[in-house]
Symmetry: C2
Subunit: 203 residues, 2 copies
């Protein structure tokens, strides 16, 4: 009965890859102050420090996988937030924007990782991935249908997409970094900024 407390591991562990990803995600979630080591992941997964290398060629590959999961989650949240019927395009714009930003504020480390070079770097090319860019597709759809309903200015869909994406990305980043100081930008910067941009979208 040496150590057979509870389920003694089969010692081919079964699902190390999933455990590693989950462990890493939860480290990211609790993360204050950005340090993330592969060895710490292995430690928490109670596995040797080199074990992750059987599932990921290197650290960046794991980070890239996490980033892709982040994009999946972001997209899912956007879709969920927008699925209810009967919203005006303007409602949908604000819902989408605030959902996006809120995702970043709720998962700051993950969000930063999603746009970090370390997640890209390798061969995985995160940002070219369908999964990464399809979150953007949701925003695009909001704009497009808003145009079709003649609530938003016609044409220049590209420009509007760029403006909206940059706006929410910028607000998210600045907010994560704690840069939207009240004395510089007021107490309600995010809503205010979205409203300002909206003025530029309306037909």
């Amino acid at each position: 009965m040496s150590e057979s407390n509870e389920t003694k591991r089969p010692y081919h562990h079964g699902s190390l890859k999933k455990v590693i990803v989950d462990t890493a995600l939860s480290m990211l979630a609790e993360n204050n102050g950005w340090h993330f080591t592969l060895r710490e992941v292995a430690r928490r997964a109670e596995v040797s420090h080199a074990a992750p290398y059987k599932h990921f060629p290197d650290k960046n590959s794991l980070l890239a996988e996490l980033a892709l999961i982040g994009f999946d989650q972001l997209r899912a949240e956007l879709i969920r937030a927008l699925k209810s019927e009967g919203m005006t395009p303007i409602d949908r714009f604000f819902i989408a924007g605030k959902t996006y930003i809120n995702f970043g504020l709720t998962n700051p480390s993950l969000y930063k990782l999603m746009f970090s070079a370390e997640a890209s770097g390798g061969s995985s090319q995160v940002h070219l991935d369908e999964r990464a860019m399809s979150a953007l597709g949701v925003l695009l759809e909001v704009l497009e249908s808003g145009q079709n309903q003649k609530v938003f200015k016609r044409g220049a869909l590209n420009d509007q997409t760029a403006a909206c994406w940059a706006q929410v990305h910028g607000l998210t980043m600045l907010s994560i970094d704690g840069l939207l100081y009240e004395e510089k930008v007021g107490g309600n910067a995010i809503d205010g900024a979205l409203k300002t941009l909206m003025e530029g979208l309306k037909a």
Copy 2:
């Protein structure tokens, strides 16, 4: 005549701090793929790997100093770009925006560092620094004078500031990361996005 080739160093070097900062800045400038080690800085400065510690308490302090220099440079470029007379507020908005973004694209590593946690972290609190936030002041002035000339919507200066800052920051970041894919956002995303926002500013 052992090694007295040229000026033999006084061996209290005189200006190591400056040399370290300059070396680090140039490493940042040539930077491909974000790795920055103190020891490499020391190596290039031809000094022992611990020497920088006589001038900076730790790595982050050096990074913080570099970041502040970056903010200084950004502010200087904005001021220079805006100093000529006879521009309309709309001109000034586009000049400021494009100068800001161009600064980021010209110095991507430095720009990212300016907004990175690693530059902040320590006691230096970069982002609370006058020098950091005064670049934002330049943008604010553009908006304010545009309002006074009744070219921009009156009121909500805070909201406009937030919107503009988020917009240029977002565009800069996305562009540095190479995310403004033509098929997603057109070939002229930056101009288009700025134009879209401008529509929201005009009176």
